[in-house]
């Protein structure tokens, strides 16, 4: 089985073989977690780092009226929180969206990995990319109209999933509901439904039983003003589409 953590980190740069062997030890034992389960809650003091190997998870916060804002999607190869051994308590909740496979990496093991210079740099890169992605989501919600907002997110997921080998051409599995997309984009689910149908009608996407196909990636990128620079994928950055 491909180690998706290694694959993700190598999007930053190649890792020495010894480091890759260490990362192979890290991704087990993996455990299945059902959909819509909290992995760690706001206020919890974490003792380990969650790593997603399969499925979609998210970071979210709820406000007293019950509204929820999803601030990040975590896809295979993504750490849920690398900073847990620096910060004492979680300031947000992490939950699965779809059924997931998750590895709980003990704090000591993360610290040991940080002793490896190439891995430490790659972890740092991953944390910076998470921050850059959060900035882009802020721009998305604050500045883009609804259709572009959703289209932008779909472009981002194509690149992120492609980086870990989870796309099939321009098709990928999007195992989330319209209500979850709504909580992500700051729209009502009725509006998300309208937007998805609009994108479908304009020949930009098709979405059948959680399988999203982007009909014309360049057109969807142009439509949503998508610039992949914030994902900092070294070989892909700013370059035209190329096959892996």
């Amino acid at each position: 089985m491909t180690n998706l953590l290694t694959r993700k980190l190598e999007a930053f740069g190649p890792l020495p073989d010894a480091d890759k062997r260490l990362l192979d030890d890290v991704i087990q034992p993996a455990q299945p977690v059902g959909a819509r389960m909290d992995l760690i809650r706001e206020g919890d003091a974490p003792s380990h780092v969650n790593l997603i190997l399969e499925g979609f998870a998210c970071r979210y916060k709820t406000i007293p009226d019950g509204s929820r804002q999803i601030m990040a999607y975590l896809v295979p190869g993504d750490f849920c929180d690398l900073h847990v051994f620096i910060l004492k308590a979680m300031d947000h909740t992490i939950a699965t969206l779809s059924p997931c496979t998750v590895v709980k990496i003990p704090r000591a093991q993360i610290l040991a990995l940080m002793e490896r210079p190439a891995i430490a740099r790659a972890f740092w890169w991953a944390a910076l990319v998470d921050e850059a992605t959060l900035r882009e989501w802020l721009v998305n919600i604050g500045a883009r109209p609804a259709e572009q907002r959703v289209a932008h997110l779909l472009c981002e997921l194509l690149l992120r999933l492609e980086a870990v080998g989870l796309t099939n051409g321009d098709t990928y599995e999007l195992p989330i509901t319209q209500a979850e997309l709504a909580d992500t984009t700051g729209l009502t689910s009725v509006h998300v439904n309208r937007v998805l149908q609009r994108l479908r009608r304009d020949g930009l996407i098709t979405l059948k039983s959680k399988n999203l196909m982007i009909m014309n990636v360049e057109r969807l990128k142009a439509f949503s003003g998508f610039n992949p620079n914030y994902l900092h994928l070294s070989d892909r950055n700013g370059l035209p589409e190329q096959s892996l």
Binding site: P145, A146, Q178, A179, L187, T188, S189, V190, H191, N193, R194, Q197, R198
Partner: protein, 86 residues
């Protein structure tokens, strides 16, 4: 929980809700319809390509139970007022 469908009209365009959403009551579904109408209106009406956004709320048998309409009217003063003379 009963399922409700939210069909959206804006100008000449119509979006049929194929999946629907579950709500505990008609009141809760109405709140969602109102929020959606206001939100879609905010997105579309200032662009001027539609003057009305309508959300038609339908029950599980696809019968219409209520309609919410959001409109924007822009009235320019014609003829334009003359600059004051003093």
């Amino acid at each position: 929980m009963p399922r409700f469908y939210f069909d959206v009209r804006e100008g000449t365009s119509f979006t049929l809700d194929e999946e629907g959403l579950e709500f505990e009551s008609l009141d809760a579904a109405e709140r969602m319809a109102a929020e959606a109408a206001a939100e879609i209106g905010q997105d579309r009406l200032p662009k001027g390509d539609a003057r009305h956004v309508t959300v038609e709320l339908k029950n599980e048998h696809r019968q219409r139970v209520l309609t919410i309409k959001v409109s924007m009217n822009v009235d320019r003063v014609e003829p334009p007022p003359q600059p004051p003379r003093w």
